[in-house]
């Protein structure tokens, strides 16, 4: 089954090409082909995962992409190990369900065909990232996702705001990608190879010096900061809500933002070797999870609440990785994919019904949309970390890792410093509380109270309902695969790679588990008491004007970027470069042409048509040549 792994991205790529070229003439406008391709990929992925669970070996397919005469060649290849297998299943599952959902959601859209083509390409990008055995190939998938996110966020580009959001997403992630590319160069320079296996071997054998590892790891993490929306580059993610809701689900659950976390997981032995890099990850993750959770409290747009919650949860994963919890971080990535895809698709169903993104136009929808209500609630409670839903187990594992490193005795040596692990634990608990509050706010504002909107809300059709129900099952039970109730360490054994063997049993700290649950319950209780009557006349937070203003302006980060970067670039730098291009570079080219023409205009008067002038010139020339021959050559 592993031998077929290359087929998974190849199928979706083929579907992309087919839909793009022939989409309008295909039955169902090409959508069934995208679904079929990713469905076949899903079956293959399940087969691969079954082999991995059964204890199959890691499979490595190597090839040459571009051989050079000097003996050096750019490799292309795929690695199928536990980590890749789990991510393959997650990506294909979410992509499959999102595409089925899109058939209902996007019905009648004027760029329906293009939308499905882009979804397929987007999925291929993520699958390439998951399977790549070398950083260069990984970068290819990474960039495919970059361009697809641009195309899909700007799907309805007629609206200026959507086009701006697409450009913002593309450019902000590009800032991180510069660091990522430099990181790849650093490791290529140090290990003389792009292959992840060799880089890891070089780091572990000490062939690459500690400073180089730190430099490379920090640079690679820049890419993850951009792609996974970590502070200070998280600003693109909430704006990315401008895209159609299925795209948001795909970006936030399976592709794009998961790529950054996956990169850190894939290169984990490298990060683990550098205390500086681990500390950096943990600190940035702590900042991000806190500010994103705070910002989620004041949003009115339901998709923006979910977007900030994604930023916050991604930071949770990063924090888990940052305190040395490889299994915990990837486990949260796994469970988060289910409940966040569910939340987005359910939110899409709400938006579809009331024709507005704003929660101020919702309320009281539990009665008219009972199934959306039930599935959304399961997702929301999983996000808040309520026992025994998916989010509880993974969040608990991350908090336990942070607790053990910060206050207890870690099972093994971790490069992260103790003080930073303490910060991670405290912010983790605070974030869990805030998460519960905004989840409760979101639930009561949409489903509680009286209906405040204009349209006639109704349940969506089967294409949209089926993925919701399936994902709700996933959001409820996905956590059990890594739960200590079911086995010692199932998930850890799945994602173990040759470089990162499983740690044995999951350490359960019941104190942390009970504490986190209590905090979540407290948060939900607070949210309920504040928002049970639906949206009050004004937000509660407006009673603290300074705090509300800060949150409403998103900690002034967007303003800072706007004033500090965008304004000078658009206002001064862009016109200056335009002038330079037009006047100096084009000027040089056009100047050559104009100069030649002027010269020719003067010279053509020599062509008088008088044969005797020509003869005279000929004679003078011959005499001149004769003189030269006698005086110079003849000597």
């Amino acid at each position: 089954m592993e031998r077929l792994a290359w087929l998974v991205p190849a199928l979706t790529l083929a579907a992309w090409a087919l839909i793009l070229l022939l989409g309008k003439r295909l039955p169902g406008k090409g959508a069934p082909f995208g679904i079929l391709a990713v469905g076949a990929g899903w079956v293959i992925s399940l087969g691969i995962l079954a082999r991995v669970i059964g204890g199959g070996e890691a499979y490595h397919l190597r090839g040459e992409w571009a051989p050079f005469a000097s003996g050096f060649s750019i490799p292309i290849g795929i690695t199928v190990d536990g980590l890749a297998a789990v991510l393959l299943v997650v990506v294909t599952t979410i992509s499959l369900l999102v595409q089925v959902y899109s058939v209902g959601y996007m019905r009648g859209d004027k760029r329906y065909v293009l939308f499905f083509a882009n979804l397929s390409l987007f999925t291929s990008g993520m699958l390439i990232v998951v399977l790549a055995d070398n950083l260069l190939f990984l970068l290819v998938g990474w960039e495919i996702m970059g361009i697809c996110s641009y195309l899909l966020i700007g799907h309805w580009w007629e609206d200026q705001a959507n086009a701006r959001a697409a450009i913002k997403a593309f450019l902000v992630t590009r800032v991180g990608d510069i660091g990522f590319t430099l990181g790849i160069f650093v490791f290529f320079w140090a290990a003389k190879s792009f292959e992840i296996e060799r880089i890891v071997a070089g780091v572990e054998s000490g062939a690459i010096s500690g400073r180089t590892v730190t430099l490379g790891a920090v640079l690679l993490f820049c890419g993850a900061i951009g792609k996974s929306g970590q502070f200070p580059l998280h600003v693109w993610l909430p704006d990315a809500m401008a895209g159609p809701t299925p795209v948001s689900a795909l970006i936030h659950a399976a592709t794009m933002v998961a790529a950054g976390v996956f990169l850190v997981a894939r290169m984990f032995p490298v990060f683990e070797a550098s205390g500086t890099a681990m500390n950096e990850i943990a600190v940035i993750a702590s900042i991000t999870m806190l500010i994103a959770a705070l910002l989620a409290l004041v949003q009115d747009d339901i998709k923006r609440v979910l977007a900030y919650s994604t930023v916050s949860q991604l930071a949770y994963m990063m924090a888990g990785l940052g305190v040395g919890g490889y299994e915990a971080g990837v486990f949260h990535l796994f469970t988060h994919a289910f409940f966040k895809a569910l939340l987005f698709l359910a939110a899409g169903s709400l938006i579809h019904a009331v024709h507005s993104n704003n929660m101020s136009a919702m309320g009281g929808l539990a009665r008219v949309m009972p199934w959306t209500f039930r599935t959304f609630t399961i997702g929301a409670l999983a996000l808040a970390g309520v026992f025994p839903l998916a989010g509880f187990w993974s969040k608990d594992e991350i908090l336990t890792e942070a607790w053990n490193l910060g206050f207890g005795t870690p099972a093994e040596h971790v490069a992260t410093s103790q003080g930073i692990a303490q910060i991670v634990f405290v912010t983790g608990i605070v974030t869990a509380f805030l998460t519960a509050v905004y989840v409760a706010r979101m639930l009561w504002l949409t489903f509680g109270g009286a209906y405040r909107g204009a349209g006639e809300p109704h349940e969506p059709d089967g294409f949209m309902m089926l993925p919701l129900v399936l994902l709700a099952v996933g959001a409820a039970f996905a956590g059990l695969v890594g739960s200590p109730l079911v086995g010692e360490n199932n998930f850890g054994a799945w994602i173990a790679t040759p470089q990162l063997p499983a740690h044995g049993a999951v350490i359960v700290n019941w104190g942390v588990a009970v504490g986190a649950t209590a905090v979540a319950a407290l948060g939900i209780g607070l949210g309920w008491s504040l928002y049970r009557g639906g949206l009050p006349e004004r937000e509660y937070l407006t009673r603290f004007p300074l705090l509300y203003k800060t949150l409403e302006r998103k900690f002034f980060l967007d303003d800072l970027y706007e004033q500090g970067i965008v304004r000078p670039v658009v206002g001064a730098l862009a016109p200056a470069t335009y002038w330079f291009d037009q006047r100096v570079i084009d000027g040089a080219v056009n100047g050559t042409a104009i100069g030649t023409r002027q010269l020719a205009r003067g010279l053509r008067h020599l062509q008088t048509g008088q044969a005797q002038w020509y003869a005279a010139a000929l004679f003078v020339g011959v005499v001149g040549l004769a003189v030269v021959a006698v005086q110079v050559v003849g000597r």
């Binding site: 053509r604 008067h605 062509q607 008088t608 048509g609 008088q610 044969a611 005797q612 003869a615 005279a616 004679f619």
Partner: protein, 101 residues
């Protein structure tokens, strides 16, 4: 006979030819001046052939070739001049300046 005499003669002949080509306006006179230059070259060829005592007499042979080619050239040249005269009623080459800017 010293080589100098035919060479000086040929040089005068050639100079007369050049003058004629550059200065005369009548196309027929220009063609005749060209003949003068060619014949100056012939004199040179014969003189050097005799001076070098060439066994194969290649100088004389070349001179005969030049005479033959010159006959052909003058035939075509006069034909052109004739056609120009028929079309434009002039053989003044100052007035035949169609190929100019």
């Amino acid at each position: 006979m010293p080589l100098l005499y035919p060479l000086v003669f040929a040089a005068f002949l050639f100079s007369a030819g050049v003058y004629g080509v550059l200065a005369r306006r009548n196309a027929v006179m220009v063609l005749m001046s060209v003949e003068l230059m060619l014949n100056a070259v012939n004199v040179n060829l014969v003189a050097f052939s005799a001076y070098l005592k060439d066994q194969l007499l290649s100088g004389q042979v070349f001179a005969l070739f030049v005479v033959a080619v010159a006959a052909a050239e003058v035939g075509i040249g006069l034909a052109i001049v004739l056609l120009i005269f028929r079309n434009r009623e002039t053989v003044n080459i100052d007035e035949v300046d169609l190929l100019r800017w």
